[in-house]
C-alpha cells in the first residue's frame, strides 16, 4: 500500500543551520514558563481513521504547550479546537480506544508550530489489529490456561528483530484474544500445561503436550507460518494440540567451584526457553529435564555473574536431538572468550589529544543457519584496560559468528581487523579452538562533515515544513550500519566526524520498516541515492530528494 504521509511538522525555526534546530528540539517541552506575555493562537484540526480517511468522533486530542497539557474530545465530524494556545511549539496526541498512532508517525510525533500561520491539522489514527483463537486437544476438548505467546517481526535500528508482544493464557473455553496490534507479521505459539501427575509419574510410556506448537502446527519457529495482519484486521488463529511421547534428558554440569552458583535451562532452536520439569542439583551438578517432546533443543548452563567480577562468568551450551530418553549429557562450563583490543591513533594534529577508550563495539550474532525470525541477543561488551595505554580487553564473548559494529566516540575508525578479517566488510567467527587474535583498530582525526539539504517534489512540503530521515551509507563497509539523522522540519541535516571516503545518501520520509543495515533492503532505492566523495577535513553539502517509502 502506498501511504502518502502527512507532514505535520511546522517548527518555527528559520533555516539558518542546525544549531537552531537543536536549541529548538532540546528546549522543547522542558521549560515551564509563563505564557502570559505571549500572543495566543487557535489550534484546530481533524482526527481521521488512517485507513479509511473517515473522521473519528469522540477521540481525545491532547495538546501540550509550554509544559501544560490540555485535552478535548473531537466532535461528531472528528473536529477539535484549542483556543488561546501560546505562540511557540506544541505537541498534539490523538487517542481513541481501538486505535493507535502509527509507528511511522510516532517517529516525528505531531509537533506543530503555533503562530499566525498555523492551519488546520490532520491527525491520523490507525485502527488496531486483533488476533483471536481457540486451543483444543485432539479430542476437541478446549485446553484451558494454555500459554499463548505472540511475536512480531519488526525492524528496529535497521535490523530485523523478533519481539515478543504478548503473553497470556487461554480462558476456560480455550479461547484467547490479543488486541492493540500494529499491522505486521506475527508468529504465535501455544504451550499447553502438562499436568503434575504426568510429570512426576514413574510410569514408563509418557505422553505430554509438546514444548510449543507454532501456528499453525509447527514444532519450531523456523517452520511456522506467520500471520500477516493489516490495520484493523481481526484474524483467527486456532490450534489443535495433541499429546505426544515425551522424554527425560539428564546429565551433569561441571567446571564450577564451590563458591559459584550454576544454573541450567533449555530452549528450542528459536532461542525460546521451554519449561519442562527441571531438577538441578547444585552440589553434584546433575540435572534432569522431564517431559521434553521430540525435537532439537539447546541446553545452556552458566554461573551467576557476580558483581565484583572476581570470578569468571562461565557458560556451556550443547545441542540435543531428542527422540528418546537421553542420559549422560555433559556440559563443561568454560569462561567466555577474552579478546585483546589494540587501538592505534593516527593523528594529523601536532599535539594529538589523548583519546582513551574512544570506541564502542556491538557484536551482532549471525547464526550460520539463521532464518529471519531467529535472532539472538546483541552483545555490548565493555572495553576494560589491558596491559598498555592503548590496549584493552573484551571479556565474556561467547563463541560464534558475528558482525561487529564499531563506533568512534571521537574522530573516526579507519579500520578494524581481526587477523586478516576486515570487520568493515566481513563477518567474524570467534571460537575457542583457534588462538585468540587481537582486534586491531586504527583511528584517525582528519574528519569530514556533510550537510544534506532535503527537498520534495511536493511544493507544499518544502522549506520549514519538510522532515525526513537521512541515511548515510559508507561504501565498502557492509558490516557497518548507516549513520542516521532525522531532519525535523528544517530540511537541513548535518553528519559530523565522518571518515574520508565514498558514501551514498538516502533521504526517506520514514525509515520505519526498512531493514537498512542490510544492503539488499536499500537496493530498491539505489537509483534515488546521492553519491558523495569526502576528502579529509571536507565540509561538503549535497541535496537529496525525499523518497516516499512504504511500510
Amino acid at each position: 500500500m502506498f501511504l502518502r504521509i502527512q507532514i505535520l511538522l511546522l517548527l518555527l525555526v528559520t533555516a539558518s543551520g542546525q544549531g537552531g534546530l537543536w536549541a529548538q528540539l532540546t528546549g522543547f517541552g522542558s521549560g515551564v514558563g509563563s505564557s502570559d506575555d505571549l500572543p495566543k493562537f487557535k489550534v484546530e484540526g481533524t482526527v481521521i481513521n488512517a485507513v479509511t480517511g473517515e473522521p473519528l468522533s469522540r477521540a481525545v486530542v491532547r495538546l501540550e504547550a509550554l509544559g501544560v497539557p490540555r485535552a478535548v474530545f473531537t466532535s461528531l465530524n472528528g473536529r477539535f479546537e484549542f483556543s488561546a494556545v501560546p505562540q511557540g511549539s506544541a505537541v498534539l496526541t490523538p487517542r481513541k480506544p481501538g486505535y493507535m498512532v502509527s509507528e511511522r508517525e510516532t517517529q516525528f510525533s505531531y509537533r506543530i508550530a503555533v503562530d499566525a500561520s498555523t492551519g488546520p491539522v490532520t491527525l491520523r489514527l490507525l485502527p488496531q489489529a486483533v488476533i483471536t483463537g481457540h486451543v483444543e486437544d485432539s479430542n476437541g476438548a478446549p485446553i484451558e490456561s494454555a500459554g499463548i505467546k505472540l511475536w512480531r517481526i519488526t525492524v528496529r535500528d535497521g535490523r530485523q528483530r523478533r519481539e515478543q508482544v504478548a503473553g497470556l493464557r487461554t480462558d476456560e473455553d480455550g479461547n484467547y484474544r490479543v488486541a492493540g496490534l500494529f499491522p505486521g507479521r506475527y508468529f504465535i505459539a501455544v504451550q499447553a500445561q502438562n499436568n503434575l501427575l504426568a510429570m512426576t509419574s514413574t510410569a514408563k510410556a509418557k505422553m505430554g503436550y509438546p514444548a510449543a506448537v507454532y501456528y499453525p502446527s509447527a514444532s519450531s519457529l523456523s517452520s511456522a507460518t506467520p500471520v500477516q495482519l493489516s490495520a484493523g484486521q481481526v484474524s483467527q488463529a486456532d490450534f489443535v494440540v495433541g499429546m505426544e511421547p515425551v522424554f527425560t534428558l539428564s546429565g551433569t554440569v561441571s567446571g564450577y567451584g564451590p563458591g559459584q552458583i550454576a544454573g541450567i535451562h533449555i530452549t528450542d532452536l528459536a532461542g525460546e526457553q521451554i519449561f519442562p520439569l527441571t531438577q538441578f542439583n547444585q552440589r553434584t551438578g546433575s540435572f534432569e529435564f522431564r517431559m521434553v517432546g521430540e525435537g532439537t533443543y539447546n541446553i545452556f548452563a552458566s554461573t551467576a555473574r557476580n558483581q565484583d567480577k572476581s570470578q569468571d562468568f562461565l557458560t556451556a551450551e550443547t545441542k540435543v536431538n531428542v527422540s528418546g530418553n537421553i542420559k549422560d549429557i555433559h556440559l563443561a562450563l568454560q569462561p567466555g572468550i577474552t579478546i585483546p583490543v589494540a587501538i592505534r591513533f593516527e593523528s594529523t594534529q601536532q599535539q594529538p589529544e589523548r583519546h582513551g577508550t574512544s570506541v564502542r563495539l556491538i557484536f551482532h550474532p549471525r547464526d550460520a543457519n539463521s532464518q529471519s525470525p531467529i535472532q539472538a541477543q546483541d552483545i555490548y561488551p565493555t572495553l576494560e584496560p589491558g596491559d598498555g595505554p592503548d590496549r584493552f580487553l573484551l571479556h565474556n564473548i561467547p563463541p560464534g559468528k558475528y558482525s561487529v559494529e564499531v563506533h568512534a566516540l571521537k574522530g573516526y575508525v579507519r579500520s578494524v581487523l581481526y587477523g586478516v578479517t576486515d570487520l568493515f566488510r566481513d563477518e567474524v567467527v570467534i571460537t575457542r579452538s583457534t588462538s585468540i587474535l587481537p582486534l586491531e583498530i586504527v583511528m584517525r582525526d582528519d574528519v569530514a562533515t556533510l550537510s544534506v539539504t532535503i527537498h520534495s517534489n511536493d511544493a507544499n512540503l518544502n522549506g520549514a515544513n519538510l522532515n525526513g530521515v537521512l541515511l548515510l551509507v559508507p561504501d565498502g563497509a557492509p558490516m557497518q550500519p548507516p549513520r542516521v539523522n532525522y531532519a525535523y522540519g528544517m530540511g537541513v541535516s548535518s553528519f559530523n566526524g565522518l571518515a574520508p571516503g565514498d558514501y551514498r545518501v538516502f533521504a526517506f520520509d520514514s525509515a520505519a520498516g526498512i531493514e537498512y543495515t542490510n544492503p539488499e533492503a536499500l537496493a530498491p532505492y539505489a537509483a534515488d541515492a546521492v553519491t558523495v566523495h569526502l576528502a579529509p577535513y571536507d565540509q561538503a553539502r549535497v541535496q537529496a530528494e525525499i523518497v516516499h517509502t512504504t511500510e
Partner: protein, 546 residues
C-alpha cells in the same frame, strides 16, 4: 483430618493417570474395598465419568484412580487396612477431597468392622460470572478492575472476603471461572479511558494560572465504585447467587461523575522526589484500592484526582528531602471525605502510635526471622513488623489506637506463648493500644501438645464432624483455637496445641457456625470435654458429637 497441600495437586492430576489402569496384583491381606456414589452437591444427580483418586494417608504418592460409572458409582478394591485420602475431579465441578470443608476433609478408614462401601461423595458444581463493562456511551470499559467478593463463613466468622479480581479486556469483557456455589458481590472500579492517568503531571500551578485553558470538562470525570447490578450505593447492591453449574451474566454500565480534586500541602517536603498515593474505599467489609492521578508542583502541593467524590482512606508516602538535605520517607494515613474540591493538610492526619518490642523463644534462643502481625479486632486491618536477628521489632508506620490480636507469622511451628506490655492492656493474646507509645515483650514457644481422639454418638464413630478446641476466654485468644474433621472411623488429631485450659467440642453441623463468636459457642461448651494441656503432652479424648 487436616488436608495436606499435596492433595489438591493430586486431584488436579488425576485425569492423566486415569488412562492407565492400575492393575497390580493384590498383595496378601489386601481384602478391603472403598465404594460409593459421586453426586452433584446441589442437585443430588449422580456424576458419571468423573475421576476419583485414592492414596493411603501415610503414602500419598501411591495413587490409584477410577472413573465413575453411569450411576456415579465408584469402587476401589484390594485395599490394605488403613486410612485413605479420596478426592474427585470432573469438568464443571470443583476438585475436592471427600467431604471437604476449608482445608479439612474426611479420610476413609478401611478394616474389619468398618463400612467403607456406602460413601456418598458430594461434588460442588462450579460456575462462571461473566459480562461486559460499558460506559454511558455504550463504549466498552477496558482495564476496569472487577472484584468478586464471596459471603462465607471462614475461621468461624461470617464475612465477605475477596475471592478473585481481574481486569476487563479491550472489549470490556471479564470472566470469573471455577466458582463454587455461594453468594457473591461484584464490584467494579475503573477510570474512563479519556482521563489522562498514566503519567504524573508536573505542574498544577500553571494550570491554575491560566483560567480558560482548562481541559474539556467532559474529560474531568471519574467512575464511582459500582456494584452489581450497576448501582453506586451498597444498600442497593444485589448478591449473585451461584448454585448449579452455569454461567451467570453480569453486565454493568458505569456512569461517570465529575471527578474529585484533592489538594494536599506537603509542608516542608518537596514531593517531586517521589510520591505514591493510594485511596481505599471501604464498603462494609469490602475494601477497594483506587489509584488516583497525582500531580505535584514545586510549591509543596500535591493534587489527587481521577476518582469520584466519596469517603476514602488515603495512604500517602513522600520521598523527599528534609531541611538537613537527607532523603526521608514519610508516610501518612488518614480518612478523607473527598468532595469535588477539597483541601487537605497533613496535620489533620491521625498519627500512628509507635509500637516497638522484643520477641524471644521460651528456650532463651532468638527466633530466626519471622514477623509479628497485629490484627485489629473490629476492622480486621493488619500491620506487620519483621523480627530482627536480635529479636527486636518496630511497627515502622506506627499503629492506630485499637484492640489487636497478636500472632507470629513466617515461623513454622513457633507460636506466641505469652505477652507483656508497657502502656498497653494485655488480655490473653490481645493487646489494647491507646495514645501512648507501646513496648511489647513477646515470648514465643515451640512446646506444643498433641491431642488424638475419636468422635462418638451412642458409642459409634461419627464421620465428618468438626472438632473444635476452644481456649479459655475465647474472645481474647483467637490464635489458640484448633480444628480438625473426623475421619470415617471417627478419629481425629489436633496438633500444635499450646498449654492451657480448653474445652474440646465435636459439632456435627459446625462448618457454617460462627464459632468465633463466644455467644454462639456458649450453648455447646457444657457438652464438651474440658482438658488441661501441658507443654509437649499427648492426650487421647473421646468426644460426644453435638
Amino acid at each position: 483430618m487436616m488436608k495436606r497441600f499435596c492433595l489438591a495437586a493430586l486431584a488436579l492430576c488425576a485425569m492423566l493417570s486415569a488412562q492407565q489402569p492400575s492393575a497390580a496384583a493384590p498383595p496378601d491381606g489386601a481384602q478391603f474395598k472403598i465404594a460409593g456414589t459421586l453426586i452433584d452437591a446441589v442437585t443430588g444427580a449422580p456424576l458419571s465419568h468423573a475421576t476419583l483418586t485414592l492414596a493411603p494417608v501415610m503414602k500419598r504418592d501411591d495413587m490409584r484412580t477410577v472413573v465413575t460409572a453411569d450411576g456415579g458409582q465408584f469402587l476401589f478394591e484390594n485395599l490394605d487396612k488403613g486410612k485413605y485420602a479420596l478426592s474427585a475431579q470432573r469438568r464443571g465441578y470443583i476438585s475436592q477431597a471427600f467431604n471437604q470443608h476449608d482445608q479439612y476433609s474426611t479420610s476413609v478408614a478401611v478394616g474389619p468392622d468398618l463400612d467403607s462401601t456406602s460413601l456418598v461423595f458430594k461434588l460442588r458444581p462450579e460456575s462462571s460470572i461473566l459480562g461486559r463493562i460499558i460506559d454511558n456511551y455504550g463504549e466498552p470499559v477496558a482495564n476496569a478492575q472487577v472484584r468478586l467478593f464471596q459471603i462465607s463463613v471462614s475461621s468461624g466468622r461470617r464475612g465477605v472476603g475477596m475471592q478473585s479480581r481481574l481486569v476487563t479486556n479491550d472489549e470490556g469483557l471479564y470472566r470469573f471461572s471455577h466458582l463454587p456455589p455461594g453468594d457473591y458481590y461484584l464490584v467494579v472500579s475503573a477510570r474512563p479511558w479519556y482521563v489522562e492517568g498514566n503519567q504524573i503531571r508536573t505542574n498544577i500551578q500553571s494550570k491554575v494560572l491560566q483560567p480558560g485553558q482548562e481541559d474539556d470538562p467532559a474529560l474531568d470525570m471519574a467512575f464511582p465504585v459500582t456494584f452489581f447490578p450497576g448501582v453506586t450505593e451498597f444498600n442497593s447492591a444485589r448478591t449473585i447467587p451461584l448454585g448449579v453449574s452455569g454461567n451467570f451474566p453480569a453486565d454493568i454500565i458505569l456512569q461517570p461523575v465529575r471527578a474529585a480534586h484533592v489538594r494536599i500541602s506537603t509542608r516542608d517536603l518537596d514531593p517531586s522526589r517521589g510520591v505514591t498515593a493510594t485511596l481505599t474505599q471501604t464498603v462494609g467489609e469490602m475494601a477497594m484500592d483506587i489509584s488516583p492521578v497525582i500531580s505535584f508542583s514545586a510549591k509543596h502541593e500535591i493534587e489527587l484526582t481521577g476518582f469520584a467524590p466519596g469517603n476514602y482512606k488515603l495512604g500517602l508516602s513522600i520521598t523527599g528531602s528534609s531541611e538537613l538535605g537527607q532523603k526521608v520517607l514519610n508516610r501518612f494515613g488518614r480518612l478523607l471525605d473527598a468532595s469535588v474540591n477539597a483541601d487537605v493538610s497533613l496535620e489533620q492526619s491521625v498519627p500512628g502510635v509507635p509500637v516497638t518490642g522484643s520477641a524471644k523463644l521460651d528456650s532463651g534462643s532468638l527466633p530466626a526471622r519471622g514477623s509479628l502481625q497485629l490484627r485489629e479486632k473490629h476492622t480486621g486491618e493488619a500491620v506487620y513488623a519483621v523480627i530482627s536477628p536480635q529479636g527486636e521489632f518496630e511497627f515502622s508506620q506506627g499503629v492506630l489506637p485499637g484492640t489487636y490480636d497478636i500472632a507470629v507469622i513466617n515461623l513454622p511451628d513457633i507460636f506466641v506463648g505469652g505477652i507483656a506490655a508497657v502502656e498497653a492492656k494485655v488480655t490473653g493474646q490481645t493487646v489494647s493500644i491507646g495514645s501512648n507509645p507501646v513496648k511489647l515483650m513477646i515470648t514465643l514457644t515451640q512446646s506444643t501438645a498433641k491431642i488424638d481422639g475419636v468422635v462418638l454418638r451412642e458409642g459409634k464413630p461419627v464421620s465428618g464432624a468438626m472438632i473444635l478446641l476452644v481456649p479459655q476466654d475465647p474472645a481474647s485468644n483467637p490464635g489458640l483455637f484448633r480444628r480438625d474433621q473426623s475421619n470415617s472411623d471417627g478419629s481425629f488429631a489436633l496438633t500444635s496445641v499450646l498449654p492451657g485450659k480448653y474445652t474440646a467440642l465435636a459439632l456435627e453441623n459446625g462448618w457454617e457456625m460462627e464459632w468465633s463468636n463466644p455467644e454462639v459457642l456458649k450453648p455447646f461448651l457444657p457438652g464438651g470435654e474440658a482438658v488441661q494441656i501441658e507443654a509437649k503432652g499427648k492426650y487421647d479424648l473421646k468426644l460426644k458429637v453435638q
